[in-house]
């Protein structure tokens, strides 16, 4: 799905992902985890995009005989924003304990009324997803994925 980065689109897009997942997986808990991840990814797209369009792809791919459900978020950002997000993503994806990392961010953010900065860490800690990212020029791509069990046809 490709659209303008508008606040009004966020929940509509994450709800579409939820419905998509419900068709593809037997466990409603897995669909809820992807719903949360989609919400956080699309909110990030809206908050940090400097381009006119952003995109979110939800797809099932086959990997070594396993079905893997994957969300891929793409947006363009300024160099300054990309440097900041790369620092965060490098730290996040290399953290050996995602829950401990998320809890640390929460403790650090707790005294401040504004800002969050918790969304991506939440995806790893609470969603238990694998996460990857690439930066190509001004384009940031973040992907999250998990093995799923599609319903039998």
């Amino acid at each position: 799905m490709r659209c303008f980065p508008g606040e009004r689109m966020v929940t509509a897009v994450s709800n579409l992902v939820l419905e998509f997942c419900r068709l593809l997986v037997t466990d409603p808990d897995v669909a809820d985890r992807f719903h949360m991840a989609a919400q956080e990814l699309v909110e990030n797209l809206v908050k940090y995009s400097s381009g006119e369009q952003v995109s979110l792809t939800a797809e099932v791919i086959s990997e070594g005989g396993d079905a893997v459900l994957q969300l891929v978020a793409k947006n363009h950002s300024t160099e300054e924003q990309l440097q900041a997000v790369e620092r965060k993503l490098r730290e996040l994806t290399s953290a050996s304990d995602p829950v401990e990392f998320y809890d640390r961010l929460i403790r650090e953010a707790a005294p401040y009324a504004e800002g969050s900065g918790l969304g991506l860490a939440r995806i790893r800690a609470e969603g238990e997803f694998d996460m990857d990212y690439t930066i190509d020029g001004t384009e940031l791509t973040i992907s999250v994925r998990a093995s799923v069990h599609p319903p039998k046809a």
Partner: protein, 127 residues
């Protein structure tokens, strides 16, 4: 603003209802806790904190059973509220009520319990 000094929130996608039950303040959240909801939740919790600080209430219950989604900005707003409750008072116990059949709800709030294990409890009830 009603007698509880807490404004009811009733926008299209998000609602908060406040009610007194003895010395306990109950907040019932429903709808979608997304980017639209954050400012409303923040204002409500500021008003709730003022009521709690005035010692009108000694406990807070936050019922999220009717919530469809809770984003990280809403969680962060709750984190800040819990931080202020602990650091600046009044240090009241906070009970979150989740739907026993909705697995994402306790999972989303688990970080709040880890932040303040002595003050935050999570209770599962029928939706």
């Amino acid at each position: 603003m009603d007698m509880l000094s807490i404004d009811e929130v009733n926008v299209e996608s998000f609602q908060i209802k406040a009610a007194a039950e003895g010395e306990r303040l109950n907040l019932r959240l429903s709808g979608t806790g997304d980017m639209v909801a954050v400012a409303h939740l923040k204002r409500c919790l500021e008003q709730a904190r003022a009521s709690l600080k005035s010692r009108i209430f000694t406990q807070l219950l936050v019922d999220i059973r009717a919530l469809y989604l809770l984003n990280s900005s809403c969680i962060k707003t709750m984190v800040h509220f819990i931080y202020l409750n602990l650091e600046e008072g009044p240090g009241v116990p906070i009970e979150f009520v989740v739907d026993e059949k909705v697995t994402w709800q306790p999972r989303a709030l688990a970080a709040l319990k880890r932040l303040a294990p002595k003050h935050v409890t999570i209770t599962s009830k029928a939706g």
